[in-house]
């Protein structure tokens, strides 16, 4: 460890928590683990969760991160925090104490978010980590019992649908009746046959494919459950990172650090909110919106906004013309594999289109809406992609359909309906 002890960290943490308390940040307790970079990469492969089932994709993740780290393409994150009560956070032991102070303040922001944002309620933080552990134990037992090849093939297939679950409909505010009505208009004849669309493809297959064995149904249930644990993080990426950044900034300012350390902190903070290449940096986007909201309404009002929004609604309401301009956002169309053409920029006539395009790529909008819409008499499972005009990646679509065909044990068809 660098030039500090665990005791130093405990003292820092106590001061930070006191300040956070004065700001009204109510949070889960945090358990920190200090680790070296290899342990960090190992933990990252499993999203920080201490026990997960065996699957090659975690090994792949390790290789990818390790390669990037090895070549200096990418540094490792300063921290990783796992949603749970208590929450689990990893610190890189080699970082100097000024970094750790910032990271701990940042973590408190996340943990406050986990505890209070309404869509995280479904993640059951108090026993989340235990459930992951039980899943790991069960799946590993299946592997021992039925063989790796068999279980792996089934896992690969089930994992391809892990995020195609009911959260989508809930969150997009698109009621089920509405979807059904649209189907009527599209295809007058099929009216009577069309059941209510089922959002959760995995659970539909589990409940309607009678040929599945018990262990297979069990795996589907577990994968679905794990998907639902991670979805809220996908849905609130910008809000959540912005929130954590906003609070580390405020907490550190309130700490009255000595000048030298404060400069170090500012340097690091600025690096965090710097755009990387031409990609939108969720930290700076979120941070800016929260800062603007604070100016307009004061800190106290922020907590309600945090509790009852997710990225799509948050940015739709609060990403103003000024902010789109300040961030120099632009929308683009791909030209070829290595370059893009600027379509709209953040001026009077263009900023709305830029914001709308951004909304298409944030939170749950980054996942295509695909539902079970019919079951034909010959057993063919009919899925419908409710398109907003974006194309599905062809190769991925084809292989995913193969996976679904394997889970379903019969033919699978994908229709496309263009939503208004």
């Amino acid at each position: 460890m660098a030039n500090y002890t665990v005791k130093d960290l405990e003292e820092c943490s106590l001061r930070i928590e006191n300040i956070a308390k004065n700001f009204g940040l109510d949070h889960f307790e945090v358990v920190y683990e200090l680790c070296d970079h290899i342990t960090m990469i190992n933990k990252m492969a499993y999203s920080g969760i201490p026990s997960r089932y065996r699957h090659w994709s975690f090994g792949k993740y390790f290789e990818v991160v390790n390669t990037e780290y090895y070549y200096g393409v990418m540094g490792l994150p300063y921290e990783m925090v796992v949603n749970g009560d208590p929450s689990l956070a990893y610190l890189m032991a080699d970082n100097p104490v000024s970094v750790q102070v910032l990271v701990m303040a940042h973590v408190l922001g996340h943990v406050n978010f986990f505890k209070n944002n309404y869509i995280f309620r479904t993640t059951h933080p108090s026993d989340a980590l235990v459930r992951f552990k039980l899943h790991a134990r069960r799946i590993n037992e299946f592997i021992d019992q039925y063989g790796l090849a068999k279980v792996e093939k089934f896992l690969d297939a089930a994992r391809s649908l892990e995020y195609n679950c009911s959260c989508g409909a809930l969150i997009k505010g698109c009621s089920q009746d509405e979807t059904e009505r649209r189907l009527y208009e599209e295809d007058g004849e099929a009216i009577r046959k069309v059941p209510k669309p089922k959002d959760d493809i995995l659970l539909f297959i589990r409940d309607n494919n009678s040929l599945l064995e018990r262990w297979q149904k069990d795996i589907i249930t577990m994968i679905d459950e794990e998907g639902k644990y991670f979805l809220p993080q996908i849905e609130t990426k910008i809000m959540n990172e912005g929130w954590a950044t906003f609070w580390h900034y405020n907490i550190i300012n309130a700490l009255e650090l000595p000048f030298g350390m404060y400069m170090e902190f500012l340097k690091l903070h600025n690096r965090i909110i710097l755009p990387v290449g031409n990609s939108v940096n969720p930290y700076s986007l979120g941070f800016l919106v929260w800062n603007e909201l604070e100016k307009q309404r004061g800190k106290d009002k922020l907590f309600d906004i945090m509790a009852f929004n997710r990225d799509v609604s948050f940015l739709r309401q609060f990403l103003s013309k000024e902010l789109v301009g300040k961030l120099h956002l632009f929308s683009y169309k791909k030209k070829n594999s290595s370059s893009v053409v600027v379509k709209e920029v953040a001026d009077e006539s263009g900023w709305k289109e830029v914001r709308n395009e951004l909304l298409r790529w944030v939170g749950v909008n980054s996942l295509p809406t695909i539902k079970v819409t019919d079951l034909e008499s010959n057993g063919t499972l009919v899925l419908t992609y409710f398109s907003d005009g974006r194309k599905l990646e062809q190769e991925y679509k084809e292989h995913t359909l193969k996976h679904i065909g394997y889970l379903w044990g019969n033919k699978v068809k994908l229709l496309e309906i263009r939503e208004a």
Binding site: P86, H328, S338, V340, V342, V345, R360, S366, L392, Y396
Partner: protein, 392 residues
């Protein structure tokens, strides 16, 4: 109050070990599909077995429903105007490809040893007729094995434990309490008995004959060496006991050491027959065809002096009679207009005169991607020489 655990000093369990291993297996399957690209890498030639390589590989994809990335939002400097073309930063994904919607890195690296690579290369290539080879197996290695105990032997092979056991047994049989002074007698001594087991191995000798004349430029030599390298690796996997003879020739032939063979360049005219006679000469001196599986491979650009054509046909025929397999690989670069007419002649010449030998094969390499195919084409023709077949 937060709790801190410093786990840097703990024993670090290798958490991802199993998943990495399984991933590696999947990668291997994928590598096999792109094998020609990898072996065409110059850097693998002449390296030792346990050297590891970090090689870029195509990612094993996890398929999900995802959007194509043909549009999106970027963050710029404020100077962007409609219609501007911007080079994408390849490293970082656009926003919105949240963790659920990531196609993931398409390319990354993994570590693999040359040994693993060659194993994978040759997994599906079998030497045909391995059964018929029995005649050519000779006892080539002595192995010392343990064969029990005996009462007489060299003191160095005394088994103390067994000897003590014997003494205890004898004491028990005497059925009287002797507290002290119960010495070892000669009958107690037990010695380990050793035997020798002969192991049978199939033996192979490979003749690598390379044309190093002036017309073989650097590219051609590289291709030739890649070919031999593959061959050498392949045969050393299939045979426990393999000898390789390296012959380089211009108008004269020389036997070389491995390192020289893979590095040395020469200049001059070409008599293909010179290298072939040299091989025949060495076979007669050192490798009795009755005991050895003989493989002869000749790589050249086929640019032979015309007055040598008759000789080379004749000696190739003789080589075919004593060998399991004779292969001729012609390096024929597409842009090599000057030598073109000459080179196709030698292929024709061999085709017309040696087609009677089922163990003779030819291949043409036009670029580095052809090497593996040429190699396969030649190896697949591996036949038992006629005089042996009667015994099969």
């Amino acid at each position: 109050m937060a709790i801190f655990h410093d786990i840097t000093t703990d024993e670090k369990p290798d958490l991802t070990a199993f998943d990495r291993m399984r991933h590696k297996e999947k990668v291997k399957e994928a590598i096999k599909e792109h094998i020609t690209d990898i072996i065409a890498e110059e850097s693998i030639i002449g390296q030792s077995h346990d050297k590891t390589y970090r090689i870029p590989i195509r990612g094993i994809k996890e398929y999900k429903f995802v959007y194509g990335n043909d549009r999106g939002v970027g963050q710029g400097s404020g100077n962007e105007k409609r219609g501007d073309v911007i080079e994408k930063n390849g490293v970082h994904e656009e926003l919105g490809k949240g963790i659920g919607n990531q196609k993931g890195a398409e390319y990354y690296e993994t570590e693999i040893t040359l040994e693993e690579l060659t194993d994978m290369l040759f997994d599906d290539l079998m030497l045909p007729n391995m059964v018929k080879r029995k005649l050519k197996e000779i006892e080539s290695q002595r192995e010392v094995i343990f064969k029990g105990y005996r009462k007489k032997g060299l003191m160095v092979r005394l088994d103390k434990k067994k000897t003590v056991e014997q003494k205890i047994k004898r004491k028990a049989v005497l059925e009287k309490v002797v507290d002290e002074d119960f010495p070892f007698i000669e009958d107690d001594l037990r010695f380990r008995k050793r035997g020798v087991r002969m192991r049978k191995y199939s033996n192979a000798v490979v003749f690598c004959i390379m044309d190093t004349s002036g017309s073989m430029n650097t590219t051609k030599k590289f291709l030739a060496r890649s070919f031999f390298f593959l061959l050498y690796k392949f045969l050393s996997i299939k045979y426990q006991n393999i000898q390789v003879v390296f012959i380089a020739h211009t108008t004269e032939a020389k036997e070389l050491q491995e390192v020289e063979f893979f590095t040395k360049g020469e200049d001059g005219g070409t008599y293909l027959s010179s290298g072939q006679y040299k091989a025949l000469e060495i076979i007669n001196e050192r490798f009795n065809p009755a005991v050895w599986n003989i493989y002869v491979f000749h790589v050249s650009d086929g640019d032979n002096f015309i007055n040598d054509n008759e000789r080379t046909t004749k000696v190739m025929g003789e080589l075919c009679r004593v060998s399991n397999l004779v292969g001729f690989c012609e390096i024929d670069l597409a842009d090599d207009v000057f030598y073109y007419s000459a080179s196709s002649k030698i292929i024709h010449l061999y085709k017309n005169n040696l087609s009677g030998f089922s163990n003779f094969s030819m291949a043409i390499v036009k670029n580095k991607y052809d090497i593996y195919n040429a190699f396969r084409a030649i190896i697949k023709n591996d036949k038992q020489p006629r005089d042996q077949e009667a015994y099969g």
